[in-house]
Symmetry: C2
Subunit: 313 residues, 2 copies
């Protein structure tokens, strides 16, 4: 299949591309390398199956160019920094909502059939029961990032309903693993490398969320797309359990061998305005497709800490 991956040089995108190349797809990437890393793709650069297009999903012209001759788009490009919305309010609008408009509109223009959209558990907001099923409503995100993901879902479903696209909407738990470029584990490792005697934790550390290894995440997407064929398919992707930020701190301290580190907490029930303190997705619908995750939240976190550490050595 001829596949386009937006944000393909990013953390999740680059893992997805490894799988797509392995299954003999022809893969094009559009990435502006603002948060992606070309090193993540350098092992494919000489492959005849692989093409890199240095473009910006915020430009409709670029996306029209990138979608030519494509059969399926994995739309992963987005601002990866949820916290940024508290400071700069138009980043998620531009890099999330308007970029997703550009993607579905370019697909309509170039008659590309299928889109897989990386949405997020944060669309549910902070009042959802846990584990949260796909049919929970009303979705009331509390971050600007979450608002842009909900908008993206609507754009996908709108283009499916009006122009006959096929859509897969994947609501991701916290995705972690090798090549992570952000997130709590990444931050903790970097903080401890800078100062092994101190670890500042945003909030009271009682935040408790579900983490999924990036390998599990991309395998789940590909499995669901090969086994489900509705015009619109909505799936939570996550793991079976949760882990608290305090436990993540403990694991990272272990892995960094920073046994003298003193943990301090900035206080409050969340890391920042718009952070959701507790999140766990129901993954029953994913499990019904026959896919299961290999890692628990703790295993995924420990694996992430180790791989982040390795890049720093």
């Amino acid at each position: 299949m001829r596949v386009l991956v937006t944000g393909g040089a990013g953390f999740i995108g680059s893992h997805l591309i490894d799988r797509l190349i392995a299954r003999h797809d022809e893969v094009r990437v559009i990435d502006n390398l603002s948060s992606g890393h070309s090193e993540f793709l350098e092992h494919h650069i000489h492959s005849a199956q692989f093409e890199f297009y240095h473009g910006d999903v915020c430009s409709l012209e670029d996306v029209i160019e990138a979608t030519k001759g494509i059969e399926c788009v994995f739309h992963l490009a987005a601002n990866p920094d949820i916290r940024l919305g508290t400071q700069v309010t138009d980043t998620d609008l531009r890099q999330g909502t308007i970029a997703t408009y550009n993607v579905v509109e370019a697909m309509r223009i170039n008659e590309v059939k299928t889109i897989a959209f990386a949405s997020s558990s944060v669309v549910y907001g902070e009042n959802a029961p846990m584990p949260t099923p796909e049919d929970y409503g009303p979705c009331m995100p509390i971050s600007l990032y979450g608002a842009s993901k909900l908008a993206g879902e609507g754009l996908v479903s709108g283009w499916v309903g009006t122009f006959g696209l096929q859509g897969y909407i994947f609501r991701f738990a916290n995705i972690v693993g090798s090549r992570a470029t952000h997130g709590v584990t990444y931050d903790f490792v970097h903080k401890l490398r800078k100062n092994p005697n101190e670890l500042e934790v945003l909030g009271n550390g009682l935040q408790e969320k579900s983490y999924m290894d990036v390998g599990d995440c991309v395998d789940a997407m590909l499995h669901i797309m090969s086994t489900r064929n509705d015009s619109l398919n909505v799936f939570n992707l996550g793991s079976h359990d949760t882990i608290s930020v305090r436990d993540i701190a403990r694991i990272v301290i272990e892995e960094c061998e920073a046994k003298d580190a003193v943990i301090s907490y900035t206080g409050g029930d969340r890391g920042w305005a718009g952070d959701i303190p507790k999140a766990m997705l129901s993954i029953d619908k994913m499990l019904e497709t026959g896919f299961n995750v290999r890692m628990t939240s703790e295993e995924a976190i420990r694996h992430t800490a180790r791989t982040v550490l390795k890049t720093l050595r």
Copy 2:
């Protein structure tokens, strides 16, 4: 209270302003008069309570100017033509999603506390059970208009969650009544005035939806806002029953005294790609606040036909 109404020169906005002026609020309107009518507001133009700002919600600068000194914004401005999305794909993005971003962002900048946002039953999509409760999910709109309303809900909830705004999200059924500027009743009256012998109906006429009189709609909003005070409040607004397009055609033909009119159907289960054939909202949550509607769907349609006819005589 000092209130801003976006789209205040429109169909619903002008009725809302009549109520706000009557309850002694100070009312500012921002409207670019692209689909609004200044005649709808001419009876307030000399009132000291009333101020008209000829501006565009698509301009952040205009909205920042319009929200200065305001305590509460009713954000009603939007592209009123749902069908247009099948032809022009960026209208709802600009006049819906980006305009709503401008409104909440201007409110943040000017420290305006409360927003009432006019959302729509179309956010639910076409697979929802009927009557559809507010907690139905996942919301998968099938029109570009619906996508922009879902995006608007996320922006309101995102700004509530991140910046402490208070939000009221009202999901409207089909709102009809005097000063209607669009919609099936309006279209049928105009078609029959042009040719009393023929009435073309989009689809098979079996589309069946709930209609709410605009007077009931604006009274419901004001009642809910005076009796509910959560940080985020989501309410369906509609009536107790539905009416089919065939029955609407019959009523309009009666009211137009066009008894020789031959009805033709363009066929298919919907009026256009992105039209939802059947829609009825659960209004239990609205009723629990102590508000009830005065008109049935049929009464609201008949009243609308009469008032549209009156403007043509």
